[in-house]
Amino acid sequence: MTQTYQLAGRTFSSRLIMGTAGFPNQQLLLDALAASGADVATASIRRISLEGYAESLVDLLGEDYQLLPNTAGCETVRDAVLTAQLAREALETDWLKLELIGDRETLYPDVVQLVEAAEILVKDGFQVLPYCTDDPVVCRRLVEVGCVAVMPLGAPIGSGMGICNPTNIELICANSPVPVILDAGIGTASDAALAMELGCDAVMINSAVAKALDPVAMAGAMARAVEAGHLAHHAGRIPKKGYAEPSSPQLGLIGS
């Protein structure tokens, strides 16, 4: 019932992008992904370790999901670029969720380095989806250097605070020529619905599902919430009024 959308030249029906980290176990990850209906799932790139999981994430998810590698944890342009190039080699995809962390406390991006790294990676042939602040000017700059989407944060990663500044998200959506994917901060279903109502094209969620008491139920909730918010955005909501307006007819009351 919700329309499909284009991301980096591919068409998707689900507007929910799922993170894969922090699930209690692998089965819950798989069940939650299924319940979410997501087409795209994120991955991180880390040094291999001999004790590492027997099964590789590629084998686990590579067939069923478009994997979106990230550069989580990188704090310099150099590390982000190399991590991106290793990700492309390892996952055989030029898609990249570019993260360039500027502060370990808030995990907020360093937007100055982010724009620089995005420009380098776009020139290197990547489809860059940058995790950025909710700054409309930074988002415009990222589009100018060739990013295929922007991923503004709603609140600090994993905080579950929802969308701290709906005004900025709405401004970004109103002016963006590329898809806007709300990333980070979602805590529950109404947050995801709100993101879509503000005009986002998709929502990226990890902790809110992985760390919920029942990840599979929450994944189902998020799937419905994203559809609900998307439909509501296009249905043309009633304006907010400071006063009441009766729904039932006002004439024909008995005794009147």
Binding site: A21, G22, L29, I45, R47, L57, G62, L86, S207
Partner: protein, 69 residues
């Protein structure tokens, strides 16, 4: 003193091997999907592993995808 290399931050004695051998020496299956290698900050594509020799003092990164957000 003997030459060394650094693999994922840990030093190893250098040996005259190519990347395929190196992975095997590290106990990894070079045929396995999802593995990527960089030497001194540059990615070595899988199709060039066999022809790429490990040099003394190389800084080598061997990575694979993990769950992530």
């Amino acid at each position: 003193m003997r030459s060394q290399i650094t693999v994922n931050g840990e030093t190893r004695p250098w040996q005259a091997v190519d990347v395929v051998r190196l992975l095997q020496a590290e106990g990894l299956d070079p045929a396995r999907r999802g593995v990527a290698v960089a030497i001194n900050g540059a990615v070595v594509p899988r199709h060039r592993w066999a022809e790429t020799a490990v040099q003394p003092n190389d800084l080598i990164e061997i990575v694979k995808p993990f769950a992530g957000g």
